[in-house]
């Protein structure tokens, strides 16, 4: 079984500054995906960024980038130029890459991020 751990329950950052959210995971799998999801107060989970474990290059989506350290099983999210709209819960998640129909997401406990004006 996989486990995902987010050790920072809450974080805050000033608008326009940079913040890094941490995530570690444990798995015996070699092929998998890692994700960061954003959940605003509306509760709708929104995919922020995806990393494929077989790719060494870190994924980047505009202001969002990850630092993927496969050997250390670490997957942090960096948000640059933080905006007020980034205020939300952020969840790190793991998915095995399988040939059958099983594609469940295993989530961490979340980090509440507040962006201050």
């Amino acid at each position: 079984a996989q486990t995902v751990t987010q050790s920072q329950p809450e974080m805050s950052v000033q608008e326009a500054e940079t913040v890094t959210l941490s995530c570690t995971y444990d798995t015996s799998e070699n092929n998998y995906y890692l994700f960061w999801y954003k959940q605003p107060p509306s509760r709708q989970m929104i995919l922020v960024i995806r990393q494929e474990a077989y790719k060494q290059q870190n994924a980047t989506e505009n202001r969002f980038s990850v630092n993927f350290q496969k050997a250390a099983k670490s997957f942090s999210l960096k948000i640059s130029d933080s905006q007020l709209g980034d205020t939300a819960m952020y969840f790190c998640a793991f998915m095995k890459r399988e040939n059958n129909a099983g594609n469940m997401l295993t989530f961490g406990g979340g980090t509440r991020l507040m962006v201050k004006p």
Binding site: Q44, L47, N103
Partner: protein
């Protein structure tokens, strides 16, 4: 393109009562997931359907929870009887198909259940 629809958005019931939640996935999405998100925690998968067949229900408390997806489109999740610890947000998600090729899971807005 319409997203994943869920209803109701909120539900308050007494313990031992029954409750049902409804989910309509994105058109054409063969795979449907129900997650339970207890306050302060990340979502946990309850059940996964591929069309109208169950792929994984290993974490579904089958003594009180049931789910169906009869025509391979919309789905209902039922709790009977409810317990206090069932208070949570129930999220539905869908994807085109599950398999080795990645297909993004799209989430609905969830149903917040409060059991008193």
């Amino acid at each position: 393109e319409a997203g994943v629809a869920q209803s109701p958005r909120y539900k308050i019931i007494e313990k031992r009562q029954s409750v049902a939640f409804w989910c309509n996935p994105i058109s054409g999405h063969a795979t449907l997931y129900w997650y339970q998100q207890i306050l302060g925690q990340g979502p946990k998968l309850l059940i996964q359907f591929q069309n109208n067949g169950v792929v994984d229900d290993s974490q579904l408390p089958k003594d009180r929870f049931s789910a169906e997806r009869l025509k391979g489109v919309d789905s209902t999740l039922k709790i009977q009887p409810a317990k206090l610890e069932d208070s949570a947000v129930y999220l539905c998600a869908s994807s085109l198909v599950a398999g080795a090729a990645y297909n993004e899971q799209f989430f609905g807005p969830g149903t917040r259940l409060t059991v008193l």
